[in-house]
Amino acid sequence: MPATFTRHPAEIERKDTGIGGKPPLDRRPTGGGGDGDNWDNRPQGRRGPRELLSRYRLGILFALAGDLMFFVALVSAFFVRQSAGHFDARENYVSDWHALAVPPILWINTAILILSSVTMEMARRQLFHEIDVMEEWLGLGRPAVKRAAPWMIATVVLGGMFLVGQWIAWEQLIQEGFRYNSPDPSSHFFYLITGTHGIHLLLGILALVGALAALFTLRRVEMRQVVLDCTAWYWHTMGLFWIFLFALLAFFQ
């Protein structure tokens, strides 16, 4: 059985049979399991409708934690490199770090990426809408998928726009004479950070396209939820990483 988020008051009302109230939640009508099987003390655990979803969420959480450390390493390298310098023949401290003014288009890109997170979240929520999910679960078409798909397509388009925007930013910097291998360390870092983040986002777009295909092909509702949910968390995290990385590039040069 799939997990759902929304719960309409009407549905809760419906469960109340009116002939003695709701059955107690802490007892299952199984008659007990015998030897030492104490249902009351049984930990809720991760069994039940959310078992699959929480397993995959745990996985994506850890995967992203590892990914976070990748960017942490790059950012700490940024700060170390920034403070590295040398003493010249006259004992003057010389630093070769020149602050790089980021192209203004990055502001627009950032706004686009935030907007894409909004559309992503709209798509994700569709798959947990109780009535639609129940219809899907009962095999009455795929209303949740049909509602989510336009939002996903919008996210792909916005993500593509972000990447194109980053490309334009690179072009502008190259026009001004900053290349990856120009002797300026701040330009190494600009390309390195935007580049690795861009690769992550490209993978996110591929995952979204894959998820879109999966929504129409996967047979289990639970798996459809898992696919979109994990893609969405990945997407949100990349958006969050970008906000921090952008702040680093824009204000901590």
Partner: protein
């Protein structure tokens, strides 16, 4: 027909099969690594003797051997076998799970590791051979292709291999963490986890945190080599008569990034052994683990402290001396939880009914090496002492005892202990004991004299002791002894291999729970309804037996 079956078995997602595959991979790596180390040992004492595959070794070939030996042993043996190998064998059973959380990701991680292994071995066959900058690959030597033979294509291959390995470890640890956190069976609360699971939990967290950093460092280094950046090459740096440093890159940055990975890596290698030692000592002394919660907490403490001690590898690197003091403090602090663990083990031994089976012997060997190698740790943690000892064989002796031999002995202990699970037969006790005694004597014979060589000032990474500068030729007799001992150590492992092959076919048939153990991998039923008790209920009187296994029903409790 048979081919189809083999393929099914190779690309399996069954955790136990993946575990066996990991152990086989580690066996392949350890065979190559040991062979390389023997070549090094022979070359050190008979530098003009022609060696197989290499002929008369050139100095750079010696450094290539050092590099490849270290990389193979650290990454492909001590990282894969204790964590991925053993955890895949028994972790799901030990926590009462049906299978891993992500069996396919788990299998994919294994095959990526295989790819990394093959790529690494390819370094021997590219033009100019394997890299020579050691398993730590310090720049600028590693950042400049012209820095030496093997630093061109060989170094690129090395970087590719390590990059793939990082991704594989990341996938593998995601699976482990999701399994331990999410897939525990009913009743398997945190305080009912066997200590091995605690250890795998900590090592998985460490793996997740540090391998990504290594991946970032590898990418930066690759960029320095090929894309014209200079993260690690300092200004005016001169290599082979050419100035290669264009701006203020910092080799120290690599050292920080690398050792932020490299030191936790040591704990990734040895923590599973500590967890296994705790379980095995409880079993073979028939006593509960004293202070279970403290022992588990200390494993976590070692893991956490292990993340903040990396600078003790860098005392002589030109790092700020005040930073050195801070790292010396954290390093000595890590002796505290380690000592708590050791005291816990000794407490189990004290008056425990020792059953000296082969797994127990190897656990005691682990304990011995962990203490013997650990005691030189606080010495090397002093910046002043380390300045003298850092580049000598003293350090080689230290980490070969505390990491390599302790790690290897825990691997042996695990194989002897879990063999019945896989083969349904016990390994031969007589051969096992012979293997243990030869190995323990030869291991001390190999690595203990290195302390003396190091105190005498013998530098590591020198290709020969004789020649124009003869200051260390007085150490040659000692070195010869080490080499003979290393040969004995390596050949004793043939006994182990023979024991495995022989016992898998002819060994004594094992009952379901041959060691009278309590943890769930020995449970007779495949599916458990519920876990009712802690992992180490030994020693008290439980009816006919002196233990109460985790799968026993609650009614059996007094």
């Amino acid at each position: 027909m048979i081919e189809g079956r083999t393929r099914l078995r190779l690309f399996t997602t069954d955790h136990r099969a993946v575990g066996v595959l990991y152990l086989l991979l580690a066996l392949a790596a350890v065979t190559v690594g040991t062979f390389l180390s023997l070549l090094m040992r022979i070359h050190r004492v008979w530098p003009d003797t022609a060696l197989p595959f290499f002929g008369v070794l050139k100095p750079e070939d010696y450094l290539a051997l050092v590099t490849m030996h270290g990389t193979l042993m650290i990454f492909f043996v001590l990282t894969t076998a204790p964590q991925s190998g053993f955890a895949n064998l028994v972790l799901p059973e030990q926590i009462g799970a049906r299978e891993m959380a992500f069996p396919r990701i788990n299998a994919a991680a294994f095959w990526l590791t295989v790819v990394a292994f093959l790529v690494l071995l390819a370094a021997f066959f590219v033009p100019k051979g394997a890299p020579i900058s050691g398993w730590t690959s310090y720049p600028p030597l590693s950042a400049v292709p012209a820095a030496g033979p093997g630093q061109g294509a060989g170094m690129d291959v090395w970087l590719a291999s390590i990059g793939i390995f990082c991704v594989a470890s990341w996938l593998s640890s995601v699976n482990m963490l999701a399994t331990i956190l999410g897939e525990r069976g009913a009743g398997m609360s945190w305080t009912r986890l066997p200590m091995t699971v605690w250890a795998w939990l900590v090592t998985s967290i460490l793996t997740l945190l540090v391998f990504s950093v290594l991946l970032a460092a590898v990418i930066l280094l690759f960029s320095d080599r090929h894309f014209g950046s200079s993260f690690f090459v300092p200004l005016g740096d001169m290599v082979n008569g050419r100035i290669v440093g264009r701006d203020d890159g910092s080799p120290l940055l690599w050292l920080h990034l690398f050792w932020f990975f490299g030191h936790p890596e040591v704990y990734i290698a040895v923590l599973p052994g500590m967890g296994l030692a705790t379980s095995l000592l409880a079993n073979f002394t028939r006593r509960p683990v004293p202070g279970y919660r403290v022992m588990a907490a200390m494993l976590i403490a070692i893991g956490l402290l292990g993340l903040v001690v990396w600078g003790h590898h860098m005392f002589v690197s030109g790092m700020n001396p005040y930073a050195g003091t801070a790292f010396a403090l954290t390093t000595m602090a890590i002796a505290v939880p380690s000592t708590v663990e050791v005291l816990g083990w000794l407490a189990m031994l004290w008056g425990g009914g020792l059953r000296l089976k082969t797994p127990m012997l190897f656990t005691l060997g682990f304990l011995s090496f962990f203490i013997a190698g650990g005691l030189t740790g606080p010495i090397l943690a002093q910046p002043a002492l380390d300045t003298y000892l850092h580049n000598t064989f003293f350090v080689v002796a230290h980490f070969h005892l505390v990491m390599a031999m302790a790690g290897a002995f825990s691997l042996f202990a695990g194989v002897y202990y879990w063999f019945p699970l896989l083969a349904g037969r016990l390994m031969n006790e007589g051969l096992g004991k012979l293997h243990f005694w030869i190995t323990v004597v030869a291991a001390y014979g190999t690595f203990f004299p290195m302390h003396l060589a190091g105190l005498a000032g013998e530098p590591r990474h020198y290709e020969r002791l004789t020649g124009p500068v003869a200051s260390f030729s007085g150490l040659l007799p000692l070195e010869r002894g080490i080499t003979y001992s290393a040969m004995l150590l390596a050949s004793a492992q043939l006994l182990f291999l023979w024991n495995i092959f022989w016992s898998a076919r002819r060994g004594a048939v094992a009952e379901r729970n041959p060691w009278a153990a309590t943890t769930l991998e020995w449970s007779p039923e495949k599916r458990l309804s519920r876990v009712n008790r802690g992992p180490y209920e030994y020693g008290a009187n439980f009816g006919e037996t002196d233990f109460c296994a985790q799968w026993e029903a609650v009614t059996k409790q007094e």
